[in-house]
């Protein structure tokens, strides 16, 4: 066993997970862990955590495709689980203090989470009663009253209104500018790929035939460079300033 590094151990991750778990069902990695442990009717302990590690990893693997945004949260817990699993497989393994704490931390973290899930149930029960109370301000709002200055005459009001109308005209006449259509490189790449998919080759001049602006010419050229880098197309030019021939590598 000497020279065996537990952190490099690979646990068999079944291609089809033993338990089918829906992504939406869980509030997060701790919720998933709790469920896995409870499914096996285990109490929260490091041993229980070691037991469900494989299922957890299988789930995370699945998550990678379905919901990559929440992956980071799951990976943190997965790393902790692997430390615990290593320790349970190799009891004599000397782990650093930090790793030892990890195992302890995860069980306490899980317990605390479980407690708050219990508290959430209390709130849920209240929520389901559908009882609510209202305050006065919410429904009636502030009363808006119009109390004009006693000196105001209809003439003054009319004059103010005309003044306001004149000012509004200025505001309405804001400088206008026509929005230019912007073509991004990725759009251009997709476009070129689509164009070239049908035929074996095309040329730069034909690509630029419909270009509406200098920017579009530049973007087209950048897109060609990117596609060349990705080896999707190859470029040929027989002499300086000659047309560039674009060939489909696919």
């Amino acid at each position: 066993m000497s020279g065996f590094n537990p952190l490099h151990t690979r646990y068999p991750v079944p291609d089809t997970p033993m338990v089918q778990i829906k992504v939406e069902q869980f509030e997060g990695p701790l919720d998933l862990l709790l469920q896995l442990i409870e499914d096996q009717q285990l109490d929260v302990s490091t041993m229980a955590l070691a037991k469900v590690t494989e299922q957890f990893l299988a789930y995370v693997k699945n998550l990678q495709e379905k919901n990559p945004t929440s992956l980071a949260d799951f990976l943190i817990i997965a790393a902790k689980l692997l430390v615990i699993k290593s320790k349970s497989l190799l009891p004599n393994l000397e782990l650093g203090i930090e790793e030892e704490e990890t195992a302890y931390d995860l069980t306490t973290q899980l317990l605390l989470y479980k407690k708050f899930k219990e508290a959430a149930k209390v709130l849920k029960k209240l929520d389901l009663r559908r009882r609510q109370s209202w305050t006065r301000e919410v429904e009636f709002g502030e009363k808006v009253a119009f109390t004009p200055d006693p000196d105001i005459t209809p003439q003054i009001l009319a004059q103010s209104l005309r003044h306001l109308a004149a000012e509004l005209k200025e505001i309405v006449r804001l400088p206008s500018q026509i929005m230019k259509e912007v073509v991004s490189i990725s759009e251009k790449i997709a476009h070129i790929q689509q164009l070239i998919a049908g035929k074996l080759e095309t040329s730069l001049s034909s690509l630029l035939k419909d270009a509406k602006s200098k920017t579009e010419v530049i973007v087209t050229f950048l897109a060609l460079l990117e596609l060349t880098k990705q080896r999707i197309i190859s470029l040929e030019q027989s002499a300086h300033f000659q047309d560039i021939i674009i060939k489909n590598n696919g």
Binding site: M47, I76, Q109, S133
Partner: protein, 185 residues
């Protein structure tokens, strides 16, 4: 006794016209009574919440008069209102942490839940169920608290209705026996 009745009715009078949450400090300034007398009078008023059509919501040093949640359906009908949407599980989970740990930081909430809670917190803020306050120890840090609207939304008449956290969770604990044995594979 007459004096305490007097104080209670003064409190109600102010809260009635205020028609918005009133801070304890504002009441103290207006009524010019000692802190503990005011607290006692508020306690007495809250105790009457169970049987009154108008109740006194008192939470996090703020006070407001509201309708009794027991009359939800009648008030709703009168105002032609819809009840608010139900809370999602992640909202309830986050709300539970804030309820029992307040004032609490986002970091602590996320540590307990094990997930990024930015979105859920924003949702709760928009619905007015929680509010952000500055941490007294570190001005750069924001802490979250539940609001009077939280009480209204869940029909809580008195924060004492909520079970004690320790009491509620006392049966959730570690099982010590499982610690030592390695598992067979």
């Amino acid at each position: 006794m007459a004096e305490s009745l007097n104080l209670r009715s003064k409190i109600l009078a102010i809260l009635f016209v205020a028609s918005k949450p009133v801070a304890m400090k504002e009441l103290l300034d207006a009524l010019e009574v000692p802190d503990d007398e005011l607290m006692a009078a508020i306690g007495e008023l809250v105790a009457q919440n169970q049987t009154s059509g108008i109740i006194l919501l008192a939470h996090n040093n703020k006070l407001q008069l509201a309708s009794n949640p027991e009359h939800s359906s009648e008030v709703k009908k009168f105002l032609s209102l819809e009840l608010r949407e139900r809370l999602t599980d992640s909202a309830l989970e986050t709300l539970a942490i804030i309820t029992y740990r307040q004032p609490v930081s986002k970091a602590e909430i996320e540590n307990i839940r094990g997930v990024n809670s930015q979105y859920t917190l924003r949702h709760l803020l928009i619905r007015g169920l929680i509010e952000k306050v500055q941490s007294p120890s570190d001005k750069r840090m924001q802490l979250y608290k539940t609001t009077l609207e939280f009480m209204q939304s869940l029909g809580i008449k008195d924060m004492k209705e909520l079970p004690d956290f320790e009491e509620l969770t006392k049966n959730i604990s570690l099982t010590p026996i499982a610690e030592e044995k390695p598992i067979e594979t």
